[in-house]
């Protein structure tokens, strides 16, 4: 058996072991690690400060080494190599023979030679031990300075923010991340960091660390200075090559064990991999090249598909403090003749730069800050020399819509590497899809391991899946989730025809598994839209607001909205709301839908609040449901000198007609009494505007994130016709829309659009109008107030308790007083307090 000694138990050393044992059992592996614990995830080191423990960061536990028969010795520093005897010796005097030696000694933090660097309060940012020291020291101080504005430095800065310290970053170069982004990209990044509370000082060379015993500040070479309680140095790495050097192995003059393309040192029995290595004048401070080096060595040892290490593309995409940064190919346009095209958007904090070849045919590289969604596509375009479009500027100035992206994927050659973590090409994926018959992203992930590393390639893998399935003649079907192979519209038909009444019946007969947070509320909505039975009969398939018939708010309290149809309310009822809100100490606010929301109720208070509201003549406003919310109105012809019809009366009629109606999403309506449109009816799912001759009906508008004006369906119809058309319109929507789709999106996706909708609900092209009206009539007749169901049924009230084994209320509920009312304690503050 060949005896292999690995010196170094870091990420690359461990990866080497994993790769070797997965290929062969013919090796005896002994690993020496200098640190006290086994290999941990150094890439995510800063998560130590956002809650991960040292154990969480471990890549594998001790037991993994045992069960794979790897002998691991931690806390043992190898101090010398006797190359003639082929043996290593450790600081404790232990001697060990090897046949093959693999040096994965990694790197250490680079500490610049600054006067005062030995003072207390100066740290490097490299190991878990460093982090423990930083954390302990940080508890006593306020202000931290990080030297180094590169990748590692910004990681350290994030850690300082997580430790709730005033944080400053000092960078010697004229920009942040000097190896990845240019000056303009850095400017955007600086802006973003400052918004996060990090002060950035570029172009500053530190000449002295001030203080007396412990540090008190930094002086820069230009004479300026800054106070500091702690200094973290994260200014780069230096390869740990001292062991190799002392053993007569060749090292680079600037550091790094010299290796050939097969990771061999000048001793044929000794390999070196990872950050300790200098290959072709390059030291790689990233983990991916180290993994590739491990692969190169393992293939030689098992003598299978031997390949050389050809250097490594240093393109990177990462999220730093929530800001996306991507840098790929020739990022700085150093290729002769290359032409840069850049977009600098200070408002949105986005910088995009692409460098194209002098003939305008190919993309050479580029930089993305603030929005790196196109990184993978661009990176592929560079790697595979995909011809540029005629107007290459459209790459960054055009909208990066989905269709562009899929066409981009379509043009990739089969050799294009899609998943760089697992080294999977487009051809591999297409082959798998065609051979194995997978139709879902999850299935493809399982078969190929694509997207299982960083996950960054998931959008491209999904596009490839879609395109390949389409090319194979599959119709890509919209199913609810993994538990149902049906679309919402298909399930509507199934539930209705088979007369299914409960989620369990639907799941047993047409689904599989246990259901989930996607299909349960979708089926609950269908059951409510079809049978209109009290949703309280199946509380645990409802979204939380429906389950508790109130809206959950920050802190875990609920808000209560009684129906005030059309926004019309008597003084007595207004006073009743005031009295009840006062009694239960609720925050009150007028909503956008012309009613009153009462916030801050504990879950156990809900039934008694409802009981008092019902006593005063109120009923549920369904503010918690995907259901009809409000029908807003202007004051109309009764009072207004411009009004031409009684909009209030019509709004009240309509709101009461559809109250309790459950739909794929919330529905809002409005009625305006004249063309001035004070009720804003054209921004509603259905909007009615009075004319001299009758009413105009608009449909499929909404406000929200993407506002859309409603479209005119018919004009100058009488009230009866208008109401009938709304009946048909809403029922058709309820029957055919996907889950959580507002009417505007539903219409946008509808083939044939508004014309088709008119054909169905006005011309009755499908012959279903009678059915739609009949179904709506049944729903209207089946109306019940859901609150009353609970108030009348002590059994249902039982679940309105925070604890089932105690009458205590939730002790974490907490409020503050602002503007003479209570508000929930800020949840970010709460979160921080608990840290």
């Amino acid at each position: 058996m060949t005896r292999i000694i690995v010196v170094g138990n870091g990420m690359v050393g461990l990866k080497f072991c994993e790769k070797l044992i997965s290929r062969s059992a013919d090796f005896e592996i002994i690993v020496y690690g200098e640190e006290p614990r086994p290999a941990y995830d150094r890439v995510h080191l800063s998560s130590f400060f956002s809650g991960s423990s040292a154990e969480d960061l471990l890549l594998t536990p001790y037991s993994w080494y045992e069960s794979n028969k790897i002998k691991l010795l931690t806390g043992e520093l190898v101090t010398s190599i006797d190359r003639n005897e082929k043996a290593v010796q450790t600081h404790s005097g232990r001697k060990d023979h090897y046949d093959i030696l693999v040096l994965a000694t990694g790197s250490s933090a680079f500490v610049p030679n600054i006067e005062g660097v030995e003072r207390n309060g100066v740290f490097v940012y490299r190991t878990i031990e460093d982090l423990i020291q930083i954390r302990d020291y940080a508890s006593k101080i306020k202000k931290a300075v990080v030297i180094g504005g590169g990748l590692l430095g910004l990681e350290a800065a994030k850690a300082m923010i997580d430790l709730r310290l005033e944080t400053h970053v000092v960078e010697f170069a004229q920009r942040l991340m000097p190896r990845q982004v240019d000056d303009d990209g850095s400017a955007i990044l600086v802006n973003k960091l400052q918004q996060l509370g990090i002060q950035v000082h570029i172009n500053k060379s530190t000449s002295r660390i001030e203080g007396n015993g412990k540090l008190e500040g930094l002086t820069f070479s230009n004479g300026t200075s800054i106070d500091a309680d702690m200094l973290v140095i994260s200014a780069g790495i230096r390869p740990r090559d001292e062991l190799a050097k002392n053993s007569g192995l060749n090292v680079h003059q600037r550091g790094g064990i010299l290796v050939d393309d097969f990771m061999k040192t000048n001793d044929e029995n000794i390999f070196a991999i990872g950050e300790a290595v200098c290959h072709n004048n390059m030291v790689y401070g990233l983990v991916a090249p180290g993994y590739e080096m491990a692969e190169v060595v393992v293939r030689q040892l098992v003598n299978d598909h031997i390949k050389p290490f050809k250097g490594f593309d240093m393109s990177t995409k990462l999220k730093l403090l929530g800001v996306d940064v991507g840098s790929f190919g020739d990022a700085f346009g150093e290729t002769p003749g290359s032409i840069p095209i850049a977009l600098k958007d200070n408002r949105n904090g986005v910088y995009k730069r692409v460098n194209i070849s002098s003939d305008g045919k190919f993309l050479l590289g580029g930089i993305l800050v603030g929005d790196a969604a196109q990184y993978h596509l661009f990176h592929q375009m560079v790697a595979n020399k995909i011809p540029l479009p005629n107007q290459p500027e459209s790459l960054i100035f055009g909208t990066s819509s989905k269709t562009d992206e899929t066409s981009g994927v379509k043009n990739l050659p089969d050799s294009a590497q899609i998943c760089s973590c697992e080294n999977i090409s487009k051809g591999d994926l297409v082959f798998q899809i065609a051979q194995s018959g997978v139709t879902t992203l999850d299935g493809l992930k399982k078969n190929t391991k694509a997207c299982t590393g960083c996950g960054g390639c998931a959008p491209m893998v999904n596009d490839i899946l879609k395109i390949t399935l389409e090319s194979l003649g599959h119709k890509v079907k919209k199913t609810l989730c993994e538990h149902f192979d049906y679309s919402r519209q298909e399930l509507f038909g199934i539930i209705k025809v088979k007369e299914l009444r409960t989620f369990n019946q639907v799941l047993d007969s047409h689904g599989r598994g246990d259901g989930c947070e996607v299909c349960k509320p979708a089926v609950a909505s269908l059951l409510a839209s079809i049978w209109n039975e009290p949703i309280m009969q199946q509380p645990t398939i409802q979204d939380t607001n429906d389950r508790y018939l109130a809206n959950i708010q920050k802190g875990g309290s609920y808000s209560v909205v009684p129906r005030i149809a059309g926004g019309e309310i008597t003084p007595d009822k207004l006073m009743a709301i005031g009295r009840i809100a006062q009694k239960y100490n609720l925050y009150t606010k007028i909503t956008g839908g012309q009613r009153i929301d009462m916030f801050g109720a504990r879950v156990d208070q809900l039934p008694s609040i409802w009981a008092e509201l019902i006593e005063e003549g109120f009923e549920s406003g369904h503010a918690y449901g995907k259901a009809l919310r409000t029908v807003k109105s202007c004051v109309g012809s009764t009072w207004c000198r411009f009004g031409v019809q009684d909009s209030v009366a019509y709004a009240i009629f309509i709101e009461n007609r559809y109250k309790g109606l459950r739909a794929p999403h919330k529905i809002k309506g409005a009625v305006s009494g004249c063309i001035r449109e004070c009720a804003e009816a054209q921004s509603k799912d259905f909007g009615i505007i009075a004319t001299e001759k009758g009413w105009n009906l608009y449909v499929c508008g909404n406000g929200g994130a993407r506002p859309q004006h409603a479209k005119l369906l018919v004009n100058d119809v009488d009230m009866e016709t208008c109401t009938k058309l709304i009946d048909r319109f809403l029922m058709f929507y309820i029957r055919t829309a996907d889950p959580l789709t507002r009417t505007a999106t539903w219409l946008n996706k509808m083939e044939g659009g508004l014309d088709y909708l008119r054909e169905v609900i006005i011309d009755d092209k499908l012959g279903i109008c009678d059915l739609l009206e009949k179904e709506m009539k049944e729903l209207i007749e089946g109306y019940h107030c859901e609150w009353k169901k609970v108030v009348d049924d002590p059994e249902l009230q039982k679940q309105f308790k925070h604890f089932i084994n105690s009458d205590d209320t939730d002790p974490t509920l907490s409020f503050v007083e602002v503007r003479e009312q209570k508000l929930p304690s800020n949840w970010n503050e709460m979160r921080d307090k608990n840290k």
Partner: protein
């Protein structure tokens, strides 16, 4: 995070570490295919009744995303057959087998063993 560490010190890695089986409530106190919150000392524990599979699971009631005491009010379900809970606030989902966040990078939650005896639910704690 103090509050999470406090939960972790109560959660057992394996069953032999259990020191206390706390009698939480009667089976009939829990909704079918859903959860409820129980109080043990200063802890809030979410207990879930997977009636369809005749299984019970327990985890911390605190969602680590926004530090809200709400997981017991969430919807239960499964992914590839493994039981999970979705937080009602932002639908972050967590495995009830190991507490891992399944659709994000949230902290792992603590899970607790459950046993059923004579119609009562018992939750296992290390102290």
């Amino acid at each position: 995070m103090e509050i999470l560490n406090q939960l972790r010190t109560h959660a057992a890695e394996n069953l032999c570490e259990i020191k206390i089986w706390f009698r939480a409530a009667h089976i009939s106190d829990f909704p079918e295919n859903g959860g409820a919150c129980i109080k043990y000392k200063d802890l809030q524990i979410a207990v879930f009744n997977f009636s369809r599979r005749n299984e019970w699971y327990a985890c911390q009631n605190l969602c680590p995303h926004k530090m809200q005491m709400v997981l017991s009010r969430g919807m239960i379900g499964s992914t590839d057959g493994d039981p999970k809970i979705a937080c009602p606030f932002h639908k972050k989902t967590f495995s009830l087998l190991n507490g891992q966040c399944l659709n994000g990078e949230e902290e792992k939650i603590s899970v607790f063993p459950v046993k059923v005896e004579d119609g009562f639910i018992y939750i296992g704690f290390t102290k």
